[in-house]
């Protein structure tokens, strides 16, 4: 047994985030860790990697008790973690990044760059990775950055690699590369702790699965001895399968785009239209310009060519504030970066886009603001201590609900959703799907972008394929298979 925890507990302000965890991990296995947001997965990871100090319980490493107090100690033991938000120094090359936090090899007084390069390259070769490590991290694509992180872990004699939602910002093809890498690591004898919300990945990769619920460990099961429904029932207290509404009534065309081009050249030629009552899925691989397309339509990113029609009328000179007035809302993919202000209260976040509605001559009428916001938060069932709580303190799913609340406050008729269920628990995901379907049935149009093909196929009425900044096939979402969709993406 490589790692074992005995009666591990962790509490914050008297509330248990983890309670009595007896978890074990074999050498050379891929171990899945699942649970809703707030189940305690991240807390466990942070204890294992020395971010949180251990107060109750013991950790055994290869049968002997270990104390892990700092991230450095954790790395020294042989534990490395790769987070969903990649942490590399943007201006450093792949090689320098691979050596972050490690002692540089030296000759006399100066750094031996050649030796560094040699060691990093040899690790890369061993893993069968073919990428230019002399590029800086900011020049690399998201999967390349993940590779650099894995190399970084392996340079350091890694025995346990923890992957926290590693495919969150990867497309399916990029994920495949990661999966084959994970299998190679396993073959080398490295244990993997794989944390994700994505069920198919869990079943494809793992040997065993541990389920967490409300800070407690439910059980560890053999992957072959379980299935999706079984896992989900173990993870959640109550869960009802999503129902697909059958009657789709498409109304008038609310948004149509033709030959859209962005100034930065990422969006090259995008044309599509969405109708009232419709959820249009946009699917494409990484770098296909999904996010950029939505940002252009919203007026956040500069357009260079093409026309946008809203409610049948041409719309030009788009800016975010104009879009909001036009009834267009953007749910940005980058929650912390573009959709939420962590240090402001939930109330201040929700009313951000429609402050003027609560103001007379620039003075905010607190009562009106408070009651409207509270009503919206109730409607979306945001779990919170109070409306004045800082939004950063909420769980991921509830943060995303706050983002939706903010959008709904402006009464939009067109929703531009970019990965709206990213890193969100299963319950919230279903609620968001239901909400969007409900909005559509009330006459709104929804553009739904996700890198998770299954999700797009679950929710969209039609699927627009995007590839290399250009729109390709438009597929009716009935009776199509994922292979059919994917085959459209690879040209």
């Amino acid at each position: 047994m490589l790692l074992q925890t005995k009666h591990l507990s962790k509490q914050f302000n008297g509330i248990y985030a983890l309670r009595d965890i007896n978890f074990s991990l074999e050498a050379g296995e891929i171990h899945g860790l699942v649970g809703e947001n707030g189940a305690g997965k991240s807390t466990l990871i942070k204890i294992l990697t020395g971010v949180y100090s251990l107060e109750e319980g013991e950790i055994y490493w290869n049968g002997a008790p270990v104390k892990i107090h700092t991230p450095v100690e954790s790395r020294r033991v042989g534990i490395n973690v790769i987070h969903q938000d990649r942490v590399l120094v943007p201006t450093f090359t792949g090689i320098e990044n691979a050596y972050l936090g490690l002692p540089y090899p030296t000759v006399g007084w100066h750094v031996n760059w050649k030796e560094m390069q040699r060691r990093v390259q040899s690790v890369a070769q061993e893993l069968g990775l073919d990428l230019d490590l002399n590029k800086t991290a900011m020049e690399m694509s998201p999967p390349q950055r993940t590779c650099v992180e894995i190399i970084r872990a392996m340079v350091n004699e890694c025995k346990l690699l923890i992957l926290d939602e590693p495919t969150a910002s990867l497309t399916d093809k990029e994920s495949e590369i990661l999966f084959s890498l994970i299998r190679k690591l396993k073959a080398k004898g490295t244990s993997i702790l794989y944390v994700t919300h994505r069920m198919d990945e869990i079943f494809r990769l793992t040997d065993r699965i541990t389920i967490f619920k409300n800070g407690e460990m439910v059980e560890t099961v053999q992957t072959t001895a379980t299935d999706k429904d079984d896992l989900i029932t173990k993870m959640t207290d109550n869960w009802t399968a999503e129902t697909q509404s059958v009657d789709r009534q498409m109304g008038e065309e609310l948004l149509s785009v033709s030959h859209l081009q962005s100034r930065d050249g990422i969006v090259k030629d995008v044309s599509f239209s969405v109708h009232a009552g419709e959820i249009l899925g946009i699917f494409g691989l990484g770098g296909s310009g999904r996010t950029e397309t939505l940002e252009c339509l919203y007026g956040y990113r500069s357009m260079q060519g093409g026309t946008v029609k809203l409610f049948g009328k041409p719309a030009s000179g788009l800016t975010p504030s104009k879009s909001i007035r036009n009834g267009v809302a953007l749910i940005s993919e980058d929650r912390r970066g573009k959709a939420m202000i962590g240090n402001l209260s939930i109330r201040e976040n929700v009313s951000l886009s429609c402050l003027c509605r609560f103001a007379k001559k620039g003075v905010i009428i607190n009562k009106q603001e408070k009651s409207s916001v509270a009503e919206m938060l109730e409607r979306l069932q945001v779990k919170r201590a109070s409306d004045e709580q800082r939004s950063i303190e909420l769980s991921g799913g509830n943060q995303q609900k706050v983002v939706f609340a903010k959008a709904l406050m402006t009464h939009p008729r067109v929703f531009l959703c970019d990965e709206p269920t990213q890193a969100v628990d299963i319950m919230t995901r279903a609620e968001i799907h239901r909400l969007l379907r409900e909005q559509a049935s009330q006459g709104c149009a929804v553009v739904f972008v996700s890198s998770d093909l299954k999700e797009v196929m679950e929710i969209a009425d039609r699927i627009q394929i995007l590839s290399g900044g250009k729109t390709r096939e438009l597929l009716e979402n009935s009776g199509i298979t994922s292979q059919q969709v994917l085959s459209c993406c690879y040209h």
Partner: protein, 320 residues
């Protein structure tokens, strides 16, 4: 376990009320050491006048810091305001004009600061440092480096020296500014948008806030408040020194940093800034009474500033 819990809650309340506690401790200590001179109504009125100028300029710094920017030109802006206003008075222009025209000038200069920062996305630190140097040059061109004091009409000193009964007009002006800007920051769209921009500029843009415009407004208001401070300094002493505002620059930011520690969210706020000014002002007042040499006062004030910055960081932490 119970012990660690109460330790934690103690730590939390120390973070929230530590600064106010420090203010209280300072007052108590000075009162014990100089009971007859320090803890008197007269001295507190005196202190309110002493800190009034710093409070006004610090409110400006609070606005700029609320959008997560810096304005290093507050000191020279104040000096310029005083000089221009005094020169106009010497030239015999009507006094109201002498106090109003500089405000317009500062508004434009502040707007330029904000425009450069927002438009070219450059560091406000460098931009305003450059502007500060430009303003110093302009002051030298206007005065030749000499203090403006000859032929200043008597009425010029009215604003800085008038008293309503026992209470200096300056203290009243300070209170008015505190009320006005505290209200703006807490209860108006402007204040909320400034905090939003300071919290996350990109999110604010996506939310439809005209970030560039509000940055211009913050810098412009900051310059106006600096200019007003400068004119009041000149009016108080009856002359305009070319570097009169310089000393206010560091202490104004110190006050804002101390003020951040008073807020639960660790963000700049007007009332906190007032507390910051009060701590610095009372220290100066008390230490002078104790006949502490100036260099000791510098050492103590500097230490407090560094301490406040650390406290502000600690208070803001725990965002993960």
């Amino acid at each position: 376990m119970k012990g660690s819990l109460s330790m934690k809650s103690m730590k939390k309340s120390l973070q929230a009320y530590g600064t106010l506690l420090a203010l209280a401790v300072i007052i108590v200590v000075f009162s014990l050491l100089r009971p007859k001179a320090f803890f008197t109504v007269r001295n507190f009125i005196n202190i309110s006048r002493q800190i009034s100028l710093m409070v006004i300029i610090s409110i400006g710094a609070t606005l700029v810091m609320s959008i997560n920017e810096f304005d290093l030109s507050v000191g020279s802006m104040a000096s310029l305001g005083g000089v221009v206003s005094a020169l106009m008075a010497v030239a015999g222009l009507p006094l109201p004009l002498c106090f109003i025209l500089p405000i317009f000038i500062s508004l434009i200069i502040g707007w330029i600061n904000g425009w450069i920062v927002a438009k070219f996305k450059v560091l406000s630190f460098i931009t305003t440092l450059g502007m500060s140097t430009v303003l110093s040059g302009v002051i030298y061109r206007l005065t030749g480096g000499a203090t403006v004091f000859q032929n200043i009409p008597k009425g010029f000193s009215w604003l800085g020296t008038f008293k309503i009964g026992e209470i200096p007009l300056l203290s009243v002006i300070m209170v008015l500014f505190i009320i006005l800007f505290s209200f703006i920051m807490r209860h108006t769209v402007l204040g909320r948008q400034l905090y939003a921009i300071g919290g996350n500029e990109e999110t604010s843009k996506v939310a439809g806030i005209n970030v560039a415009l509000y940055k211009n407004i913050a810098f412009a208001l900051c310059a106006v408040l600096s200019c007003i401070t400068g004119m009041l300094i000149a009016s108080r002493v009856g002359s305009a020194n070319t570097t009169a505002g310089d000393g206010y620059f560091l202490s104004s930011y110190a006050a804002v940093f101390i003020g951040c520690t008073v807020s639960k969210k660790g963000i700049p706020n007007v009332l906190g800034t007032l507390v910051g000014c009060a701590i610095l002002g009372i220290l100066t007042n008390g230490l002078t009474m104790l006949q502490m040499p100036t260099y000791m006062q510098d050492i103590i004030t500097g230490t407090i500033i560094i301490f406040a910055v650390i406290m502000q960081k600690l208070g803001k932490g725990n965002t993960n």
